[in-house]
């Protein structure tokens, strides 16, 4: 037995040594003296092919390694501003249909000259049906773009042309108020024909096939693991790029992100939990940047449902959402109550939409302070039992994690308390959710919408009856008309008015959807970093970031 005991002990110690001993001499990446920034992505990048990229992770990389006609930044008031990028200047025709961009002299990373043709090629490639780009629709304001994408027009018909090496001209289908906001968007970045053709379908999928023209270049890309970016010496504005390297790790788990921010392996992270916020604040090592993310959480109704076809019932459900409490309990006090649909910071006519247009639901709330009464009225109109306790409705949830369950349990209790209604939860996987929405196999459903570009239309267009995005059964002729008018109107003030009315119809008159919260973020940034800008769209830009010298 003695020998046996020894053997077991030996075995265990070998195992432990094997596990712990092997790690000597390796550093865990906590390096604070270098001119580098450590950041993360929440998941792997799907592709870095500009035409095919769809995910936010790719957008983040493009922000650092690419540059479009313009670059987005943030002004002193925290509003997004558009700065010249590759385009030194631009002009618009009277009717707002023709946009001409004058490019500065700039080079690709490999030293070759960047020309207007690179933009034309990129756009036409995205629109080519054979590319099957999922974001082709972003280019729909360009004349004949959608026609080419659906095979009804030829590539040459598309309203984009290189007038000369350095002059790029767009012809639009209709005056598009937000067109300039698309010019920094990833789908309007230039592409190199020779590189794309060399790699074919594998362009953007491997490190070798990448080509950059922005502040940084990709030095290393290990899919689902990490991306290393280094300063691009051929970038036209390289003198203003102050860091040498950005280390981007893929960190999927939120707790892991927090741990890494705490132990210094990350310099920056979004923090959405009050407990962590407190912990980070206590360390005194971080600056906090709070901001909106151009998104709203909402509940939507199936307007063809026997109960929710009644607008009073919809209003009752919408008004009885305890938005402040929900923001506090479910979203840790970070998200903000939404009584409107278009979130703050979205701009139109150089102004913030939300500060110009009061939130429609606030008015509704003032007029109908008792949602229970509204519900009873609605039920009476439908000839149903007025007692809300006899009403059972179902709520369709997506998401296969604990959070969606907690969220549902909250709103279930919320409506039980505020309206006295029983809510039954249905949980499905996202693709099944989509299917059930398409088939109108639901009563209530919960979602979030994140805008694509800085214009109210990115929020309001989707409820046009033929938009085909979400099948709610909402159809209002005036609403459709307003959206169409806003789409072709050049005068931004008028567009603002159209959108004001449209939002009023959507929320005040019809209550087709019930927004609950505006999404916000809470970013903790190490005090060693300066010059951080987090615009509403486009994501964090490391071009302007620098390492703060030790001042103490």
């Amino acid at each position: 037995m003695e020998r046996f005991k020894k053997l077991v002990t030996l075995g265990i110690s070998i195992a432990v040594l094997f596990l712990f001993g092997a790690c000597g001499g390796e550093k865990s990446g906590v390096e604070t003296d270098k001119n580098e920034v450590n950041t993360y992505l929440g998941s792997g990048i799907k592709t870095l092919d500009i035409s095919k990229a769809t995910d936010a992770n790719a957008s983040f990389i493009f922000t650092q390694v690419m540059e479009g006609l313009t670059r987005v930044s943030v002004d002193e008031r925290g509003q997004d501003i558009i700065l010249p990028g590759l385009a030194e200047s631009w002009e618009t025709s009277e009717d707002g249909l023709v946009w001409t961009f004058y490019l500065r002299d700039s080079k690709w990373w490999d030293g070759s000259e960047l020309t207007a043709e690179d933009f034309v090629y990129s756009i036409k490639r995205t629109l080519d049906p054979a590319t099957a780009s999922q974001y082709a629709f972003i280019l729909s304001p360009i004349k004949n773009a959608m026609e080419y994408n659906s095979g009804k027009a030829k590539a040459d018909d598309v309203g984009v042309a290189a007038l000369d090496e350095k002059t790029l001209q767009f012809t639009l289908k209709s005056p598009t108020g937000y067109f300039l906001d698309l010019t920094y968007y990833k789908t309007l970045h230039p592409q190199r024909r020779d590189v794309v053709e060399k790699y074919g379908d594998r362009y953007g999928a491997t490190m070798e096939s990448l080509i950059a023209n922005g502040p940084f270049v990709v030095k290393e890309w290990i899919p689902n693991n990490k991306v290393t970016l280094v300063k691009n010496e051929n970038y036209w504005d390289k003198d203003n790029v102050r860091i040498d390297q950005v280390n981007v790790q893929v960190v999927q788990d939120t707790n892991a992100q927090m741990n890494m921010l705490l132990n210094g392996q990350l310099d920056i992270a979004g923090v959405s939990k009050q407990e962590w916020v407190k912990k980070f604040e206590e360390t005194g090592r971080f600056n906090v940047v709070k901001g909106y993310t151009a998104g709203s959480n909402y509940t939507f109704f199936n307007l063809d449902d026997g109960i929710f076809k009644n607008d009073k019932i919809r209003k009752a459900f919408s008004l009885s959402i305890t938005r402040e409490d929900m923001g506090d309990v479910i979203f840790k006090g970070i998200f903000e109550s939404a009584y409107g649909w278009v979130p703050p910071k979205i701009q139109i006519a150089g102004k913030e939409f939300r500060s110009e247009v009061p939130e429609p639901l606030k008015q509704l709330k003032d007029e109908s302070p008792d949602p229970r009464e509204l519900l009873a009225e609605g039920l009476r109109e439908l000839g149903m039992d007025e007692n809300p306790e006899n009403l059972r409705v179902s709520y369709l949830n997506t998401g296969t994690n604990d959070w969606s369950r907690t969220f549902f349990e909250y709103i279930q209790q919320m409506w039980k308390k505020t309206l006295g209604v029983e809510i039954e939860g249905i949980f499905v996987e996202w693709p099944v959710f989509q299917k059930m929405i398409d088939e109108k196999d639901y009563q209530l459903a919960g979602m979030a919408w994140i805008g694509d570009y800085n214009d109210p239309s990115t929020f309001l267009d989707i409820w046009k009856s033929d938009a085909g995005i979400y099948n709610t059964g909402f159809k209002n002729d005036r609403y459709d008309e307003l959206i169409e008018m806003a789409g072709v109107e050049v005068d931004q003030e008028k567009r603002l008015e159209y959108f004001r009315e449209a939002e009023n119809i959507l929320l005040y008159e019809e209550s087709a959807i019930a927004p609950s919260l505006y999404r916000k973020r809470n970013t903790f940034i190490s005090k060693r970093l300066g010059g951080i800008t987090i615009p509403l769209f486009g994501g964090m830009d490391y071009k302007t970031v620098y390492i703060v010298e030790d001042e103490d």
Binding site: V8, E26, F137, S150, G204
Partner: protein, 309 residues
């Protein structure tokens, strides 16, 4: 023996064929397609172009034949969600990561588990037995994510010894290995304990003792060899499971492995990726089981392997 193996390999291909066919039609019967991963509904034209590009607009059976034809030429196709990445390339990239982690975890789990089990059996109803049982219960009642999170917090934040997440150095593998093995140590230990107790009651152990076989050799040559068989049964699927990785552990430690990839392929409805990975996994799994069956014969000569059986 050779005939037996050849026959089993033949059957293996038949089994694989059935698995592929069933998987192909099951994933198509489930709602959703690769565009679902977009988390938003896309305009109709985008969908049409996408389906046309990947042949998803064709009748299902035609797609099936096309897939089988390509498969026959050893072409697993291209990912539908990660444009430009071939399925084979993805497997080649991610499975070694999961494999390394898995092999470490199985070696660690198996050796410690089996040692613990033997220890518990010989010290039955004494404190080592209780400690092993306590660990076993802990290992199974505490979900993997808890072990992983705690290890991560204590060894990367409290005592910053190791990198928190990522992959690349040996240091990166230590915590995930322990977290991954934690539950299986318990299983191995409990099975081994039960078997050892069974074997200890066998007459041939008495014979061996009567021969004056020293304790150590008794345990090693007579007890363990006879007791380890059922543990090999659970080892087989575990070895195959190595390559498929663990979703939870890979997520918490952000390991670019097969497990996370497999689950996200399913969630994204990346048809070709699901199929490719299923084929890869199934082939490994079946091979592992074949190896286990052969191992059985080696460990226990009573179970003869022959072509006839």
């Amino acid at each position: 023996m050779l005939r037996y193996i050849l026959k089993r390999v033949g059957i293996m291909f038949l089994t694989l064929f059935i698995i592929i066919t069933m998987t192909f039609f099951i994933i198509r019967a489930v709602p959703g397609d690769p565009l679902s991963s977009m988390a938003r509904n896309l305009p109709e034209q985008v969908k049409i172009n996408f389906y046309a590009k990947y042949g998803l607009d064709q009748p299902l059976f035609v797609q099936y034949l096309k897939f089988m034809k390509n498969l026959f030429m050893l072409d697993l196709g291209e990912s539908l969600v990660y444009p430009g990445r071939s399925v084979a390339e993805n497997i080649k990239r991610f499975s070694p990561v999961s494999a390394r982690l898995g092999i470490q975890a199985v070696i660690f789990g198996f050796t410690t588990g089996v040692s613990f089990g033997i220890l518990a059996a010989f010290k039955r109803n004494k404190w080592p037995d209780y400690v092993v049982m306590f660990l076993a219960i802990l290992g199974v009642s505490i979900p993997g994510f808890v072990t992983a999170s705690l290890l991560q917090y204590y060894f990367t934040v409290k005592i910053p010894l190791l990198p928190t997440t990522g992959w690349g150095t040996t240091g990166h593998t230590i915590l995930p290995t322990i977290a991954l093995a934690f539950g299986s140590v318990a299983a191995y230990a409990r099975y081994m304990r039960a078997n050892v107790l069974d074997v200890l009651h066998q007459d041939y152990i008495l014979t061996a003792r009567a021969k004056g076989v020293p304790r150590f050799s008794l345990i090693w040559r007579h007890v363990i060899r006879n007791a380890i068989l059922p543990v090999i049964t659970i080892l087989g699927p575990q070895i195959a499971g190595i390559f498929i990785g663990s979703f939870v552990i890979e997520k918490i430690f952000s390991i670019p492995g097969f497990g996370f990839n497999y689950v996200s392929a399913i969630q994204n409805r990346d048809f070709s990726m699901i199929l490719g990975q299923t084929i890869f996994f199934a082939a490994l799994y079946i091979t592992a089981l074949l190896v286990v069956d052969i191992l059985y014969g080696l460990v226990d000569p009573r179970i003869r392997i022959s072509g006839k059986r």
